[in-house]
Amino acid sequence: MNQTLPNFPLSILYPEMILTISACVLIFLARAFARAHKHTLSSIAFFSVIAAMGCAGSLWNFPRWENLIEFFLIDRYAIFFKLVLLVICALTILISKRFLSDTDTERGEYYGLILLATIGMMIMVSGADLITIYLGLETMAIASYILAAYFRSDERSSEAGLKYFLLGAFNSGIILYGMALLYGATGTFNLAEMHRIVSGLSGPAELRLLYFSLILLVAGFGFKIAAVPFHMWAPDVYEGAPTPVAAFLSAGSKTASLAVLIRVFTVAFGLFTELWQLWIAYISGLTMLFGNIAALRQTNVKRMLAYSSIAHVGYMLLGLASGIEMGSSAVLMYAFVYLFANIGLFASLILLTRNGVPKESTADFSGLSRRHPLIAFAVTIFLLSLTGIPPTAGFIGKFYLFMAAVKSGYIKLAVVGVLASVISLFYYMRIVMAMYMEKPADTDAAALQPSTSLGYAFSIMVFVILAVGIYPGPLLDLARESLSSIKILS
């Protein structure tokens, strides 16, 4: 019974390998580069991500490799999310350059950890069996604990790190136990085999076991994407963590966890679909309402963004709850659309911090349109996209989501979602109001000049949001195609 080494072309692992190499270079050789030139660190990281993106792109129509199915999936679904995650990583690097140099804490390890976290996510996303998924999950998690606690001397950052660690570890315990029960019931870790075995099972006891593992996995992944009963950590951690890390967490770890959640639930728990869709529906309703109402009168923008990202997870779960083919493709598209606006807002917070003093209250935005009209315009586009006002991509995302909800009959949920997005208008528009309709506080009247990298980040994000908003055709097809590839497995 000597299994042979699984032979597969190395090209499928190129994206991960490139990132690992550059992460190691950054971490261990950082000392040498730091003095040479202050841009090298971030540029190494950025260009390696671009290279990884190129390789991942090339794998788009990779033929299905038979015996590789067991561990590492290279289907359209995984590639789509890998690209999304790499985009997130690139944007995070761009915006953190300014932030780190501003608070003069720029070190190689930071970029290394960001890359390692991205690797973890990519493995997690394309994992075919529970072990790989779990290990990818843990890599991402541990890297984020460290990043959250990055500012050792700042009390809020270390408290955030501690909180995130304790709850994260606790949650990984829960996920593991879920997986253990699942393994107990089916005897294998591979999702495809699991599907086959589960549909074969009949005994009430096994189903009961599966039922409990389903509960525990819902809880575990619920924690990761900060859905309502398990969301408590998100506001504190996002407020405490350094801003680019908060951006990375709110976009990266959420998207990756969501991708895994969809894959595991649609493939492994195919039999229980109506059951977990019902739960997801309730959770999404609660999340949407909680996220929006809690954010109503927040003065600290980071905390408000935390609540708003919770709300957006609610919208995505709405899509997931309303059916597999249309609903989930809506979720894919919404995930892509949501990340740009979210990271954009965090980037605008970074722009406001000057000489290390973090400015996070809505009052700091007052009069921004006079000081810097372009940035004010960009922030308005982000806010409009988050609210879901037409010219922006956010609208297309929400429209497609509500379409899926109405199609699958979740009318009441759609109405809740629609009302929630009206409530969200209020606190998003408060920032726009502060920017355009308030006189600038005279203290920081000097016009701020964003660093070049931040400028690039802003322009990319605005361009994508408007382009997708006006002509969403190609993105919709991309989402549909990538979702259909999951079908082949189950």
Binding site: I215, V218, A219, M232, T299, A363, I423
Partner: protein, 664 residues
């Protein structure tokens, strides 16, 4: 040619209105008078050509509103009724235009006055010449607009502005009734052209005809100042006297009578409406005459006399004598116009003084005005040879003959009162001892020729205007001329028995006695006024003190204005304010979430939030605010609370297994 009649004054109004202020300024009157004169000539020409071959025809201009079944065109109808009215309107109008040159000389808004006057002529002619109800309604409201503009001409006077607004609003109430009648008519016969409506009139049910009749009469009440809606006419004296002459004597107020005459076919089917109209007319006549007895302001007396005379006209229409109503309308236009213009020249001479207490003995200073005024007073009182006698006598005769004995009595009594207050006015202003202020005494002079010429022409018309058309009572020229246009049931009856005793056209005994009674009433009024005001001037003062209560009641116009104010206007304004508060607190309140909640947590309320949050949060409602606070409080900050919530979440999911019926 017919189209020219309304078109010319319209052009005059446009020219004066647009270029008046900068270019024409002083000689605006050439444009206005010229336009009105030409229009008069056009009217005369069409009248004479109509007399030659009396065949009524329509002239179509263009299609105004056309929505599938409804087709309304701008078209004019030429028939005896409209021709008579056109002649009266353009004739009297032209005279008043000339009069205005002298009267309004030197006034700031000279061009504006003439522009409005021409606009009024256009609107009145549209009303008169219209061939369908909607065009008539256009003229109807246009005339209301011009009366608003002209009454409020001296708008710096608050009283004038209020009077103008009152006039327009009361007219609007009348017009509301009119337009509802329009809808009823359209609902029934799918067209608003007179010709079609009259031809289908026989098909109306009596109930429908009565409803239309009463609603049309409501419109007429608003326009011709009958009992409930007459309050605006006395206040309309705020405008220039020439305006009062033209609008509130000769033309606008008579529009109601013309409209009733035009709809005689409908009214024929609604005897109830006719009786209602007759009684309202009679009561208004008596009511107004009684008030006029004690008024001191010369123009107020004339205003109430107009209301009273209009009451006469509606009384005659009410009893079916449309022709005599129209005849009285014509004669009334002449002598009432003359009276107003005469009083205008008196006021002009006395530098704006209108109170009769400060007049008297003006005969010496203003011989022509005095003479013409005396002729007009004789005419209105109903002294035989003059115009007033023929038309009023005919009305009283017709009322008696058609069996309305009580109304005839009221009419006779009113005739007595009319002659009394008219001669009172005459003697107080022109005869007797002069009570004019000494400083005004010395520059009392006769008015310029532009004023006296129209006065004398009108005086001539007052004398011969009654005799020529109406000599043999009920069978005069005017009856022959108008009868084809008035198709009424009574009329048909007349032709029947008229043909029988066609030969003996001598006056029957009954006619003679009725004539004697009306002449007697007029002379008695004259004698009483002579005795009261010339022989024993102190007597009126004693009677007034003895009959204190009646005098004050009459003098304060039965407090009608005050009643209206307290019953309608004030409560309406109070309602408005309460509705507005309801709007602010009520609906907004519900949406805002009850009262304006102060922001609870102090450290949250930065400058920005308090001002802003306080307002907008109320919009989303206090509900979300309350929920927000609860949910926010859940984030206690303790890690282990979060972990506990997670475990409880899992527990809830696990126990939900028992509730959800799943096939385990």
């Amino acid at each position: 040619m017919v189209a020219l009649i309304p078109l010319l004054p319209a052009l005059g109004a446009a020219v004066n209105g647009l270029f008046g202020r900068r270019y024409i300024k002083e000689n605006a009157h050439w444009v206005a008078v010229g336009a009105c004169g030409l229009s008069f000539l056009a009217a005369v020409f069409t009248f004479t050509s109509f007399l030659r071959e009396p065949q009524s025809y329509e002239v179509r201009m263009f299609e105004w509103i056309a929505v599938d079944p409804l087709r309304i065109e701008l078209a004019f109808l030429v028939d005896p009724l409209s021709m008579l009215m056109a002649m009266v309107v353009t004739g009297v109008g032209f005279l008043i235009h000339i009069y205005s040159i002298g009267y309004m000389h030197g006034d700031g808004g000279y061009h504006r006055y003439f522009a409005y006057l021409n606009l009024f002529m256009t609107a009145m002619l549209l009303l008169v010449l219209a061939n369908n109800y909607l065009l008539m309604f256009l003229g109807w409201e246009g005339v209301g607009l011009c009366s608003y503009l002209l009454i409020g001409f001296w708008f710096h006077k608050d009283s004038a502005a209020n009077a103008a607004k009152k006039a327009f609003l009361v007219n609007r109430i009348g017009d509301a009734g009119f337009i509802l009648a329009l809808f009823l008519i359209y609902g029934q016969c799918k067209s608003l052209v007179f010709h079609d409506v009259m031809s289908q009139a026989h098909a109306f049910s009596t109930g429908l005809a009565t409803a239309i009749g009463i609603l049309l009469f409501v419109g007429a009440m608003g326009k011709s100042a009958q009992i409930p809606l007459y309050v605006w006419l006395p206040d309309a004296m705020e405008g220039p006297t020439s305006v009062s002459a033209l609008i509130h004597a000769a033309t606008m107020v008579t529009a109601g009578v013309y409209m009733v005459a035009r709809n005689s076919a409908i009214y024929a089917l609604a005897p109830a409406a006719l009786n209602f109209m007759a009684s309202v007319g009679a009561i208004t006549a008596l009511f107004a005459a009684s008030i006029a007895l004690v008024q001191r302001d010369i123009k107020k007396v004339l205003a109430y006399s107009t209301v009273s005379q209009l009451g006469y006209m509606f009384l005659s229409c009410g009893v079916g004598a449309y022709v005599s109503g129209m005849f009285h309308l014509m004669t009334h236009a002449f002598f009432k116009g003359l009276l107003f213009l005469g009083s205008g020249s008196v006021i002009h001479a006395l530098g704006g003084e209108q109170d009769m207490q400060h007049m008297g003995g003006l005969r010496k200073h203003m011989p022509i005005t005095a003479a013409t005024f005396t002729i007009a007073t004789l005419a209105i009182a109903g002294i035989p040879p003059l115009a007033g006698f023929w038309s009023k006598d005919e009305i009283l005769a017709e009322t008696f003959k058609n069996g309305h004995k009580l109304l005839w009595g009221i009419g006779a009594l009113t005739a007595l009162m009319t002659s009394f207050y008219m001669f009172r006015l005459l003697f107080l202003t022109f005869y007797g001892k002069s009570r004019v202020h000494h400083d005004k005494e010395h520059h009392l002079h006769e008015s310029p020729r532009t004023i006296t010429i129209p006065l004398s022409i009108l005086a001539f018309l007052s004398i011969f205007g009654g005799v020529l058309p109406g000599f043999p009572p009920e069978r005069g020229w005017i009856h022959g001329f108008l009868s084809p246009a008035i198709s009424s049931v009574h009329h048909a009856k007349e032709i029947l028995h008229g043909a029988a005793e066609h030969g003996a056209h001598a006056l029957s005994l009954l006619d003679l006695t009725l004539m004697a009674v009306s002449i007697g009433a007029a002379l008695m009024g004259l004698a009483a006024a002579w005795y009261f005001y010339l022989i024993r001037p102190a007597l009126p003062g004693q009677w007034a003190s003895r009959l204190k209560s009646i005098h004050t009641l009459l003098f304060n116009k039965y407090w009608v204005d005050e009643i209206y104010l307290s019953v309608f206007v004030r409560p309406l304004l109070k309602l408005c304010n309460r509705l507005w508060d309801f709007d602010l607190q009520g609906i907004d309140g519900i949406v805002n979430g009850a009262s304006r909640v102060a922001v609870k947590s102090a450290e949250e309320s930065g400058r920005f939030d308090l001002k802003f949050i306080d307002g907008v949060i109320n919009d989303i409602g206090k509900l979300f605010d309350k929920w927000h606070d609860i949910l926010r409080r859940w984030q206690t900050g303790f890690v282990q609370n979060y972990a506990l919530v997670m475990v409880i979440g899992v527990l809830v999911l696990a126990t939900s297994m028992f509730f959800i019926p799943y096939h385990f």
